[in-house]
Symmetry: C2
Subunit: 321 residues, 2 copies
């Protein structure tokens, strides 16, 4: 039985949507996983009761400390060991759960996973967020979706390697096409770090298809989109914004295309992104998550944990580095 | 009478679409402007004949040198003085035309405008591309849309000033809301250069609304979106990609919302972006321009020149710098 730790106070609409989402997730799980809610025990239990939950697939671990969205990650690690966020990761380290999910402070979640779970390889300096994003032709892996900034070319190369093995292990794509996000196809275009990364990727053991542009991201030219965490975050949020704009302008379009668009482009169906290159499953869910997004994040965490995705990614990374 | 110089060999589908677009532009101009096509004279005249043009609103200046899309800007300036691109700008410097348009090598067009037309202020180090982009609520100015890379914080501040006065002079927005594109609302988020730019913008003589995210770009939270040319180019191309994806999935939607979306989001209606902070009107049209996009780029150039937008931007910039 797989257990998933969920930060009860993580996210803009916690704890209500987190607890609602947790209940929806276990109710639809056919008993394949349990959830351990980490948060202020009395409050969380009262909320579970309020939502009418009476099953035994959800337990609660007391973790009373709140974590603010703008709290510095190292401060959280040092001073908020009894927060839901840190407790989720600590339980995984102890082997009591197999995955940790938080929609809270993403920097703190990343730092906790990095410091508590550890990297799969010491060569792998800065774990990125690998996020599945919708495209015109299906989905791609965006890496880094926002864990890092000001990356050196070698770090961008690590992102490419991690994204490539993630696409292989998780999406089942053989020899995935890896594109470097830039402002033109030419090698000599773009910021210096991106130009240097281009040169490194040419000889890396991946299927590097060269630079791609913003248009190619949306149209799905690459299976793996490599970029700085800053740019990746802009890309991810624009994809979300586009879905919202579309909903606003057109509402629900009741055609096969409309249904496909809703299925693929609603950010809530992605359900959260995986930190790559770590010894364990750390899922960063969206701060704006509603209950459906939390439910989906837990399901995604289950898939990663059940399929040993982090371990497979780690082994493959060690093999090609 | 305003004359507009148009690079006959600029763009992926030149010269055919350029000449077709030029004819469409003058036919719809009510005689308000002329076009001077700069390119290999015999070829251009033959094409004009082939397209059946018999009016006198289009003239041709011989400029036989071709410019490749990946040719280095300074090489173009040094070795390709008889190219359509450089000739367009040189004619403006001489006062023979009031605006220059090219869909060719954008780096070369920028360098030519910078070196030949000159900056409005010596304090203004790196002229950005100001581009009108569609949002959920109307349009915003994206600055820089791809002229620069690896900008220092002071350069990002210049972009904000230029974007703000451009929004005022061209879109008529009083006290436009200026947002800094980042990966979170918090001041301490993002690349170091962006964090430092944030501090500079707080005391700049503009209506700075703080950091905005990718979602806010699409939803239209700011009138002016300030970012590095690299990121701006990714943003611009993603907006184009969204429109293409939408066309692919849904085709033409025959409702008021569908028509509005087509009008606003079809990249061809934007018609080209203005280089800001220069003594003159240099328009960079899209490399993939078709005849409709070229027609629109010429019309946009006319609007800028007729309304003295570059001069107004220059005066306002000088006033607040």
């Amino acid at each position: 039985m797989i257990s998933i730790a969920l930060d009860a106070l993580g996210g803009d609409f916690a704890p209500d949507v987190v607890i609602d989402g947790a209940i929806k997730a276990v109710n639809g799980s056919d008993g394949t996983f349990n959830i351990v809610l980490c948060g202020p025990k009395a409050d969380v239990e009262a909320k579970l009761k309020q939502f009418g939950y009476q099953g035994n697939a959800i337990s609660v671990v007391d973790a009373p400390d709140p974590v603010a969205m703008d709290e510095h990650p190292t401060d959280v690690l040092r001073k908020k060991q009894h927060s839901g966020l840190v407790t989720c990761v600590a339980l995984q380290k102890k082997g009591l759960v197999q995955a940790s999910v938080s929609a809270g402070n993403s920097g703190a979640m990343m730092a906790s996973c990095l410091m508590i779970l550890g990297r799969t390889s010491e060569n792998f300096a800065r774990p990125p967020i690998g996020c599945i994003v919708p495209t015109a032709s299906g989905s791609s892996i965006l890496v880094d979706a926002g864990a890092n900034v000001d990356e050196k070319p070698l770090v961008l190369k690590d992102f490419a390697l991690a994204g490539s093995v993630f696409a292989e292990c998780h999406l089942g794509i053989k020899n995935p096409k890896v594109g470097l996000l830039n402002m033109g196809e030419e090698e000599k275009k773009g910021p210096v770090a991106v130009q240097e990364a281009h040169q490194l990727l040419k000889t890396a053991p991946i299927n590097f298809i060269g630079n791609i542009e913003g248009r190619d991201v949306v149209l799905g030219k690459a299976d793996v989109i490599v970029c700085s965490g800053y740019v990746g975050n802009v890309v991810l949020k624009m994809l979300e914004g586009f879905y919202e704009l579309h909903q606003k302008m057109f509402g629900k379009i009741d055609t096969p295309a409309g249904k496909k668009f809703d299925e693929m482009w609603d950010y809530r169906t992605a359900g959260g992104a995986l930190l790559l290159g770590l010894k364990g499953t750390g899922i960063i869910a969206h701060g704006r998550s509603d209950a459906k997004a939390i439910e989906q994040a837990v399901k995604v965490a289950y898939t990663f944990a059940a399929n040993n995705v982090p371990q497979k990614v780690g082994e493959k990374l060690a093999g090609i580095q």
